[in-house]
Amino acid sequence: MEVFLVSLLNGLVYGMLLFMLASGLTLILSMMGVLNFAHASAYMLGAYFAFTISQYIGFWPALVLAPLLCGAIGAAIEMYGLRRVHRNGHIAELLFTFGLALIIEKVVQMTWGLIPVPYRIPAGLDFPLFTVYGTQFPAYRAFMLLISALMFGAIWLGLTRTRIGLVIQAALHHPEMVGALGHNVPRVFTTVFAAGTALAGLAGVIGGNYHVTEPAMAFTMGPIVFVVVVFGGLGSLTGCFIASLLMGLIQTFAVVLDYSVADLLKWFGLTVTSATPFHEVLTVPLPRIGALLPYVLLVLILVFKPRGLMGTRDT
């Protein structure tokens, strides 16, 4: 029970972090058809910016400044890069963001070094908030939950209650029609791209010190975010939200449950020894398979249900 509750909370924290990344990517992919490989790079940049800023003026200004910086970079990428590549088709756009992700990783390596930087949780939040069955729950995780919940509320209000939100919703499905109605669709695109990048940056600010801030963090996070987006379905933020939480919970629980197929076979009276064929496959414990699960899910969904959980069209 104790393990279950703690894992549930941790899974929730991780899932909300994933949603912060995936929501921007879903919007960008649904509206512009751009599979943005550089999205996770914005997550990494957010963490590194926050690290540097917090060294000089503290964590709280970094919480605001780093996402804004990321958003500005996102807007620049959209206006000066993507628009130019757009006429060469979606694959060219995808390749452009792929090259960008590569370059950003190298630039980060050159600026901050190859080894992880000591980006730590601010001292003001570094205390146990409450204790569940003897396990302490850090205040910072609660803070992460709070930030992501606030952000979720802001996105939801912004998309359903504001004028630009309604235009964005319309442009999700029929960008040409929205343009024909006289809305400046390119500017809407830029706004969404910048906002999505800023959100990814925010996720980096609060996720960088929760995990590790290192140059490889973008390439480890990137595919998982893609999985969430595909699983949730194109054009659906609700689907994206459910998929994020599900993925967070799956990955957290897979780490805790130390079982393998061999243990399952034991129930049926079969013992796996080193002489059994495929014993290596059968004895791999679940925590190690846990890292594989997102990719298995990605392939399965794309093959059998490319529409995703709540998508409005195929990927």
Partner: protein, 446 residues
């Protein structure tokens, strides 16, 4: 009148090569020249005083050969069938693992096979996994296909670290190419002998891939790339075309992997990792995915940067990445595309007039490249190089990266060169447009 007619006749372009042995000879000679050149190239680096080949040059040339097969097989999917794959290295790497295990089996006496045919085993391994993964991946196309291959790539890469038996974990599978089995009695103990084998297999694989583009399957792959709905209406199953193309490209990638196992005598997790897939993508796109030989050209550029620059600095991947972005943004046809754009001007006989404009943009271009490289190297040195205990040198002069001067110099060269380049580019553009207009007027535009 009749003299005029005979003069005009040679100008008519023959699109179809003349049949018979004369046509075959005409088509075969560039291949023979290329093979002879590839065999002569290492002798440029031959050390006559010690009477030994340069190991570095031979390894680099072998790497170019096997990576060219890999990049061309990647382009069988991307260029020909419009299938962008982010996991092509799994076919290359798994082919390599199959070849390594085969060589170990030969060495142990469990089976007999000449070393010359080991790449073929790699190819068959690649074909097997190509069929397996292709069945899954080719259910979708475009972006969904790209994501499936990415998922498969990550999956295999993770498995490579998990299962010791087949993949050998992080240490990989070591092997020994000196098995004592050879069709020609060659021991393959020297890298020159290995290089000859690489050249032979590269020539065979490239020729087969070239011929494949002219088969009905290769043509249908083009058709499904350009308009898969129409291909469907004609009566073909686009999925089947994609599947066959994927599996065949797995075969060729596996040959590359088999050569990798022979050249390096070890196959590690790196061969299936995402970075390897990215290398094929970068090479194919920098060289040009549209033309058949584009990926070959791109591979030469990428491997030269990789082995040449990585000795001096840590930033080779950054240069490749920037080159890639420039290609995506300004020259989607790649290097081959840029060369092909000169063809009408050459046919109009006015290529010479481009020399002066080229020289004029060369100087500011060199300035901005110099500034960029200097800045990158300075930044990379202060964070990574200094920790490795290297000294920052330009030629024989030691430069202190802690002072402002080199940084200012780099920034000035980059910005100044860039602005100057913009200015000169305008003149170049005008000249270019005029020449293209002239070529159009002469009717030599294709």
């Amino acid at each position: 009148m009749s003299a005029d007619a005979t003069q005009r006749a040679p100008q008519g372009r023959t699109l179809v090569a003349a049949p018979g042995s004369a046509g075959l000879a005409r088509r075969a000679w560039p291949w023979l020249v290329a093979i002879v050149a590839a065999l002569l190239l290492p002798w440029l680096f031959f050390d006559w005083s010690t009477r030994r080949h340069s190991g570095f040059a031979l390894t680099m040339l072998s790497e170019i050969g096997l990576m060219a097969i890999f990049a061309l097989s990647f382009n069988m999917q991307m260029g020909q069938a419009g299938l962008l794959s982010f996991g092509h290295a799994i076919l290359f790497g798994l082919g390599g693992y199959c070849a390594a295990h085969t060589m170990n089996a030969i060495k142990a006496g469990a089976m007999w096979l000449p070393v010359e045919l080991v790449p073929l085993v790699g190819g068959l391994g690649g074909l097997l996994f190509g069929v397996l993964f292709g069945y899954v991946a080719t259910k979708q196309r475009a972006t969904a296909f790209a994501m499936i291959t990415m998922g498969l790539g990550e999956l295999v890469a993770a498995c490579a670290l998990m299962f010791m038996g087949f993949f050998g974990g992080e240490g990989g599978i070591s092997t020994d190419r000196v098995t004592g089995t050879s069709l020609f009695g060659v021991s393959y103990s020297s890298s020159w002998q290995v290089y000859c084998l690489v050249v032979a297999w590269t020539a065979i694989a490239v020729l087969l891939m070239r011929l494949q583009t002219q088969t009905p399957l290769g043509r249908m792959a083009n058709a499904t790339r350009d308009n898969f709905e129409r291909a469907q209406f004609v009566g073909y199953d686009p999925r089947m075309v994609r599947f066959c193309q994927f599996a065949l490209s797995g075969f060729f990638a596996g040959i590359g992997g088999g050569l990798y196992a022979i050249v390096y005598e070890i196959v590690t997790f790196d061969t299936v990792a995402a970075a390897k897939s990215a290398t094929a993508l970068l090479a194919a796109y920098i060289g040009g995915a549209g033309g058949f030989f584009g990926p070959f050209l791109g591979t030469i550029v990428v491997v030269l940067l990789q082995s040449g620059v990585s000795l001096l600095s840590n930033a080779w991947l950054l240069y490749v990445g920037v080159l890639f972005i420039i290609m995506v943004m300004y020259a989607p046809g790649g290097l081959v595309g840029i060369i092909a754009q000169h063809a009408p001007i050459a046919r109009a006989g006015r290529l010479r007039e481009l020399i002066v404009p080229y020289v004029r943009i060369l100087l500011p271009g060199a300035f901005s490249v110099f500034g960029f490289v200097l800045l990158v190297e300075l930044a990379s040195f202060t964070t990574i190089g200094a920790a490795q205990g290297k000294a920052f040198k330009i030629g024989p002069h030691a430069v202190d990266p802690a002072t402002a001067f080199p940084w200012l110099l780099g920034a000035a060269a980059l910005i100044g060169g860039g602005l100057w380049l913009r200015l000169e580019a305008r003149g170049f553009r005008a000249r270019w447009d005029a020449l293209i207009a002239d070529a159009k007027a002469k009717g030599v535009m294709l």
